[in-house]
Symmetry: C2
Subunit: 461 residues, 2 copies
C-alpha cells in the first residue's frame, strides 16, 4: 500500500466535501467457488482500497463526519488461525498503516450503526455489487436503505482525477499488459489454440504476482464482442483479437486490445479495414485535451470509420451525418472508451452515468449511443481507454437490414460478402494533461508494420 499520508489526505478531503453524516464502507469478503472455503481469489473493494488501502477480507470502516472519528472494524487472528497461516500483523498494526488509530471488533459494527441511527445521523454508502455485502447492508440498515448520491458524487470527483501515485501504478499495470500482448503476438500462429494463447498470456501476468484486471478476450471471432469461449484453433488468414490487461498488486488496471494477423501478414482485405481502424484510432487520440467532450471524440471516431467504409463501398452518404444518426453503430456498437483506475471500468459499481456523464445528465438511449460509458468533458487527471473497433456482426447486419434501418447510409447489398470478416479493435490507455494528452505506459505495437515486427520479435517497446 501507499504511505499512510495518502490515505489520510483522501479521507480528509472526502470528509470535508461530505461535511455531515456517517460514511459506511464495507470491505469485501471471500466468495466461495463451489463451497464456502474453496475461495475465489480475494479482491478488495476498490472504494475501500482507495480510502484505506487494506487488502484483506472481512473489514469494515466508518468515517463519522459529525464527530470527526474514523474506525476500522475487524477481527484478530486466533492462536488456532496462526497455526494455519503463520504469524500476521494485528488489526491495530494494519490500521496504523492506513493512518487509522481506532479499531473495534467486527461484532461492534452493528451497535455502532444503531447508535448513529439513534443520534439521527444520516448513513451514507455506495452501491454493493455482491450478494454477501447486500445481506450485510440489509442487516445493518434495513432492506430499503438507498445508496448515497452525495457520497457517489464526492468519490467520483476525487477518483476521476488521478494523482501521480495512481498514474505510476496504472503505468506499471500497462507495462505488464503490453508484455501479455507481446506474448500473444509471438504465439499467434496457425495450429495454435485460443486457449493455449490465453493461458500463456495469463502466465505473463501471474508470474509477476499480478492478476488480470478482467477476463481476457482471446478470439479469432472478434465480431462476437463478449467472447470468452477460447474454443477455436488458429488458421492462416485468421485475425486474433486479444483484449487483456493486468491489475497490479495495488489493484490498478491496464486494459489493452490488439488485433493481429495469424501467420505472416494480414490479407489485403484485412489490411484495408485495419488502415481504417488505425486512421480512426490516431484521429481519436490526437483530439484529446481538457474541455473537449468524449462524446465528440466518439462521434469523430464513428465519422472516420464511415469515411473509410465509404472508400470500401460499404457505406454511403455524408459520414458526419451517418455518425450523428447512429448508423455507424452497425460497425462499432460500443463506446470509444471508459474511465480506468482501481477498476478497469472505473467506479462502474457507482453507476456509469455518475462517472462518465455531466452531473444530472442522462444517457442517449439510441443503439450505440447508449453504450457510451464516457461522454463528459475531459479534465486533467482523467485516465481512460481509447478503443475504436470495426466489426461485421452477421446477426446485427441481418437485424438492421430486415428492419430497413439507415438505408441511406449502409450498402447492405455489399455486406453479404463481409459477414465472414470478423472484427478488430485497438485499445490503449491515455491521460488528460493540463495542456493535452499523454499516452500511458510503454509502447505497444499498433500499426500494421509494428504488429509484423512484434511477431518477428523485433518490436522495441
Amino acid at each position: 500500500m501507499y504511505n499512510k499520508e495518502i490515505y489520510i489526505a483522501r479521507r480528509k478531503a472526502l470528509q470535508q466535501t461530505m461535511s455531515h453524516g456517517l460514511l459506511l464502507f464495507l470491505g469485501n469478503g471471500n466468495v466461495g467457488f463451489n463451497y464456502a472455503d474453496n475461495e475465489y481469489k480475494f479482491r478488495q473493494d476498490s472504494t475501500f482500497l482507495y480510502l484505506f488501502g487494506l487488502d484483506m477480507p472481512g473489514l469494515a470502516a466508518v468515517i463519522d463526519c459529525d464527530n470527526n472519528r474514523t474506525v476500522i472494524f475487524g477481527d484478530e487472528l486466533t492462536l488456532d488461525d496462526i497455526v494455519w497461516t503463520g504469524p500476521m500483523p494485528t488489526l491495530a498494526e494494519r490500521a496504523a498503516d492506513a493512518g487509522v488509530t481506532e479499531t473495534l471488533p467486527s461484532a461492534l459494527l452493528f451497535k455502532h450503526i444503531e447508535n448513529a441511527k439513534a443520534d439521527k445521523q444520516k448513513v451514507h454508502f455506495v452501491p454493493p455489487y455482491r450478494g454477501d455485502r447486500q445481506l450485510l447492508f440489509d442487516e445493518l440498515l434495513g432492506k430499503n436503505a438507498q445508496p448515497s448520491l452525495d457520497l457517489i458524487n464526492a468519490l467520483v470527483d476525487m477518483r476521476n482525477h488521478k494523482g501521480p501515485e495512481e498514474i505510476a501504478e496504472i503505468e506499471k499495470a500497462i507495462g505488464i499488459s503490453v508484455d501479455m500482448h507481446l506474448k500473444a503476438l509471438e504465439l499467434a500462429q496457425p495450429g495454435r489454440t485460443e486457449k493455449e494463447i490465453m493461458a500463456a498470456v495469463m502466465e505473463v501476468c501471474l508470474r509477476e504476482g499480478y492478476y488480470y484486471s478482467f477476463p481476457a478476450i482471446c478470439t479469432t471471432h472478434g465480431e462476437t464482442l463478449h467472447n470468452h469461449g477460447y474454443i477455436h484453433t488458429l488458421r492462416e488468414g485468421d485475425m486474433l483479437l486479444l483484449d487483456a490487461g493486468a491489475e497490479t498488486d495495488m489493484h490498478y488496471a491496464g486494459d489493452l486490445t490488439t488485433t493481429m494477423p495469424v501467420g505472416s501478414d494480414f490479407t489485403s482485405r484485412q489490411r484495408e479495414v485495419y488502415e481504417v481502424l488505425m486512421n480512426t484510432y490516431h484521429t481519436a487520440h490526437n483530439m484529446l485535451k481538457p474541455g473537449i467532450t468524449y462524446r465528440e471524440c466518439h462521434v469523430k471516431a464513428w465519422t472516420t470509420i464511415a469515411e473509410g467504409l465509404q472508400q470500401l463501398g460499404l457505406m454511403k452518404g455524408n459520414p458526419t451525418e451517418a455518425a450523428e444518426a447512429g448508423a455507424v453503430a452497425l460497425f462499432m456498437p460500443h463506446g470509444l472508451g471508459h474511465m480506468m483506475g482501481l477498476d478497469v471500468h472505473d467506479m462502474e459499481n457507482y453507476g456509469e452515468v455518475h462517472v462518465g456523464y455531466p452531473r444530472g445528465a442522462q444517457k442517449d438511449p439510441r443503439f450505440g449511443f447508449k453504450s457510451l460509458r464516457l461522454a463528459r468533458k475531459l479534465e486533467p487527471g482523467f485516465v481512460f481507454t481509447v478503443e475504436p473497433g470495426i466489426y461485421f456482426i452477421p446477426e446485427l447486419i441481418d437485424q438492421w437490414r430486415a428492419a430497413g434501418k439507415f438505408t441511406d447510409f449502409i450498402c447492405y447489398e455489399r455486406l453479404d460478402a463481409w459477414k465472414d470478416f470478423g472484427g478488430m479493435r485497438n485499445e490503449e490507455n491515455w491521460l488528460i494533461t493540463p495542456d493535452g494528452h499523454r499516452h500511458l505506459g510503454k509502447a505497444k505495437p499498433v500499426d500494421a508494420d509494428q504488429l509484423l515486427a512484434a511477431k518477428a520479435g523485433k518490436f522495441e517497446c
Copy 2:
C-alpha cells in the same frame, strides 16, 4: 455434459429416495470481482451439475416428487444479447440435453414456490454458500427456511458412490494435475520464484481449457498449511511444496501434493523425514479396502509417523498410544484425506460430517481429530485423497510446549533445532473397489528417486 440418460437416471433415483416434497435447486449466478459486470469465472453449483449438467448462470430447477414433474427455470437471450454473444441454444434446447422437457421463465419460479407452499408441499434444498443465492432463498422461502437433511443424505448417498463416467472424468483431471506437478519439478531450481512456478503450473491447466480445482499452494514454507502468498525465492537446500489440481471442463477435480527438493537433491535431514513420509503414505494406501474406517487409516498414518520420528529422536513412548492420544497432531494437524468429485472437498457445502462420517455421528473435538474430514467406513465407489504430511510448525511447537502437552510422547528439547525444517506432504487420489483399492490417474513421481528422475526429465508417467 454427459448423455441425458445419466441425468435422467440420477434424478429418478433421487426422486425415489425422497418420494415426497418439492426439491428446489438454484444454479449459481455470476459474482462481481470489483463491480457486477467484471465477473469472476463462472462456476456452476455442483449439485446442479450432478442432476442437470447445465453449465450456465441464472438457472433454477425443481423436482416435484408429489406430482412427478421436473421444471428448469431460466430466461432466453434477447436479440440484443445475441449481438454481443453470438447465437446460442434456447433454454428448451439446453433443457432437452439434460432430459428435461418443461422449461419456464425465471420470473415464474416465485409463483411456482408460492403454489407449492399453498399446497402444503415441503420444499427441500441444500445449504447455499454464496450471498446472492442466500438472498434468493430468503426471498423464495423466507429468512428462517432451513436446508433439508433428508435431501442432503439422499444426495450424499448417491454422490459418494462414483459411477464409471465420474471416475473417468476424475482420472482426466488427475492426468492434467500430474502435468502441473511435472512442470513444477522442472522449474524448482534455486533463483526461481514461487510465483513464477505457480504461474507456469496454472498455464498447464488453463491451456487445456481446464481450470484449477482450488487455489494452488506453491511454497518453500510448507509448514504454513494455508499459504497462498507466493512471495519467496527458491534457494539451494529448500523444499518446494506444491498442492495443486485441475478441474476438467465437466468440473471434476484432481488434487495432488508433491514436496520436492530445490536444486539437485534433498539434504540428508530432509531425506530422513521424507522416508518417514513415504513409509506413512505407502502404509496408508495399502490399507484401503471396503469395510475399513478411514479413521483407522488416519491413526495408522499417525502411528507410522510416530515410529519414524522416534527413530529421529523427536518422539518417545508407544507410537500407537501417541497416535490415539492425538500427540502426533503436532506434526500432522490435518486429516489423512477427504472425499473428491465435483468438488475437491466433495459436497463440503452440505456439511463435512454428513459426507465423511456415519449418519448421525459427531466429530471428535480434539485437536487434530477435529480436522478429519473423512472418518467413515469405506465403500466401493468412494474416491478420496490420501495425503499424509509432516510439518514442524514453530508457533504450534511453542504453544504445546508452553502448555506442557504430551510431554510423554514429544521430545521438545530436540525440536528447537528443527523449527527451520519446514513441512512436507504427499497426496494422491484413490478409489475403493469391491475387493480393495485402485490408484487413480497416471503416475506421479512419489518416492525420492522418482522425484529426482522427474527433475531430470526422466520420469515416465
